[in-house]
Amino acid sequence: MSQPLTYYDEMKNKGYSRRDFVKFATMMAAFMGLERSAVGQIAKSMASKPRIPVIWLHFQECTCCSESFIRSSHPIVADILLDQISLDYTETLMAASGFQAEEAMQHTMNKYKGEYILCVEGSVPVEADGVYCMIGGKTSMQILEEAAAGAKAVIAWGSCACNGCVQAAKPNPTAATPIHKLVKGKPIIKVPGCPPIGEVMAGVIVHLVTFDRIPQLDALGRPKAFYSKRVHDTCYRRPFFDAGLYVESFDDENAKKGYCLYKVGCKGPVTYNACGVTKWNGGTSFPIQSGHGCIGCSEENYWDNGRLYERASAFAGFGIEATADVVGGIALAATGAGVLGHAVMTNIRKKDNIHMLEDEGKKEEKELDH
């Protein structure tokens, strides 16, 4: 029996040189924010370790995560991590279909029990016994349960799998549910974003391969290497924010000058992602660089949390949408009116009382003088 191929073997087969391979390892180390010694570690792991089997499931989603992944700036990411090596089952990209495909998945699940990584793209609809998303006669919930049972770890790709995304927006008719609410007892790595940045996705996989354990996660279960800073903290327009210089509308003079987009609804200050550093499309640009505010695509509930082009989030209530300041202003006016009314009442109804108390006070003063 031949030795299972390593990542490096597969790369060589694909025609990549040693030089390409080392460049790839270096790039990955940089994206992950690791020190230089990690480059060797990554290269060594990829040259010695057999590929990790991966099952990649698609539920309620738009496949933008897969798209982002295969368009990651370095061709090796797409070629090696996805195309050649790891994917034992993925509905979108595999050649097999129907019975054959399902069998391939069963095969991986049995053969690599406890070893394979389960990647999930999309949310799971649980309403109406899960009929809204069925594959091969099974509901997505059933498929998820089966696949998660033997997985070493679960990666939730994108905002769908992490938070439910747009299909979970009110009133969420299919009860679209994120993975962490359904899978218990397995390490889950959340990689939110709509989609997540390809390099970030590759970085998570490379981390798993290199260090044989899941990356360090923050309180929300996201890899710290990519999600510990807000877009705002790495945004090149930040000096304008700090200076108090803002775009007031998209066609004003300030917009031309490249001022901060805070007041036209930029959600950078509340969004944790690597867009400002890693950027998109091979480091070409990112939304803010092209003049549009961040919409907070990697944050929970960004689709329902207020409007995209306004700073203050509005809440629906009393049949209209109102911001805190509108409600607060009305409450303040009402309070002022109440206070005023009370003061008038006090003067009318307690006039006698006040006289009495004043007289009393005077008398007492006199008495104390004696």
Partner: protein
């Protein structure tokens, strides 16, 4: 009604608010105003047109710096006040704020009837806080807590110090910073409404009762009817409370 007060009250000077309570109060008032003003600016910065280069300006930067400095003072001051609720005199004690029995609600009702609805009846003459005020302060303490939790929850990711980092679970529970900022902003309005009502009622009590309510937070002294003071000491004696009279 006047006939009810046939006998003449003697007023007694009672040292109600100890110095730490007064310092807490004014420090809190100061930083609260700073937090509200800078908070408004942070949430919706004014258009200040300028021909200066960005590198020469730091308006939002200063607003945020003031907000965070005031936030630390606010927080430690708040913690101190909680502590003082256990070691201070009876008028500062936590039992003034948290209902511990039926009498508390009875007194609240009485205050509501006389002071707020202005019905006729016998005035409740308390020495420290009346029960209704105390109960409302209880809610302000909760709001202080909410504001500290959400504020430091937001601040956690901007800081490397362990103290703010202790609060990084807050955004996790509320589902991200967007929600935390919402809660933080809505809670601010509670304080604004509170300040309006609080200041009004202080003046109201001073105006109607003439016991030195307003100045009591400056010097600590209130002018209390002998009768009310005796009753107050009987129900919960506290020998630490200073008064004018030698015993």
């Amino acid at each position: 009604m006047a006939k009810k007060y046939v006998h003449i009250h003697r007023l007694r000077r009672v040292y109600t608010w100890e110095l730490p309570v007064r310092l807490y109060h004014w420090l809190n008032a100061l930083v609260m105003v700073a937090l509200i003003v800078t908070g408004f600016y942070i949430s919706n910065p004014l258009v200040i047109s300028s021909h200066q280069e960005a590198s020469n300006r730091f308006v939002m930067g200063w607003m945020r710096a003031i907000h965070f400095i005031a936030a630390y003072i606010f927080f430690f001051n708040f913690i101190f006040r909680l502590y003082w609720g256990f070691v201070g005199n009876k008028y500062a004690n936590w039992k003034q704020f948290i209902p511990t029995g039926k009498f508390f609600f009875k007194e609240i009702w009485q205050v509501l009837k006389i002071d707020i609805l202005q019905l006729k009846g016998k005035e409740h003459l308390s020495v420290g806080h009346n029960a209704l005020a105390g109960f409302i302060y209880f809610f302000t303490f909760i709001a202080f807590g909410i504001q500290s939790l959400t504020g430091f929850g937001l601040y956690a990711s901007m800081s490397n110090w362990w103290l703010p980092k202790l609060f990084s679970w807050v955004p996790a529970i509320l589902g991200g910073d967007i929600m935390v900022r919402q809660v933080h902003h809505w809670t601010m309005w509670f304080f604004i409404l509170f300040v309006v009502i609080h200041v009004y009622l202080v003046f109201y009590h001073d105006y109607v009762e003439g016991r030195g309510e307003t100045s009591s937070m400056v010097g600590g002294w209130k002018f209390i009817e002998e009768e009310a003071f005796q009753k107050d000491q009987q129900t919960a004696p506290d020998r630490r409370v200073l008064t004018d009279e030698k015993k």
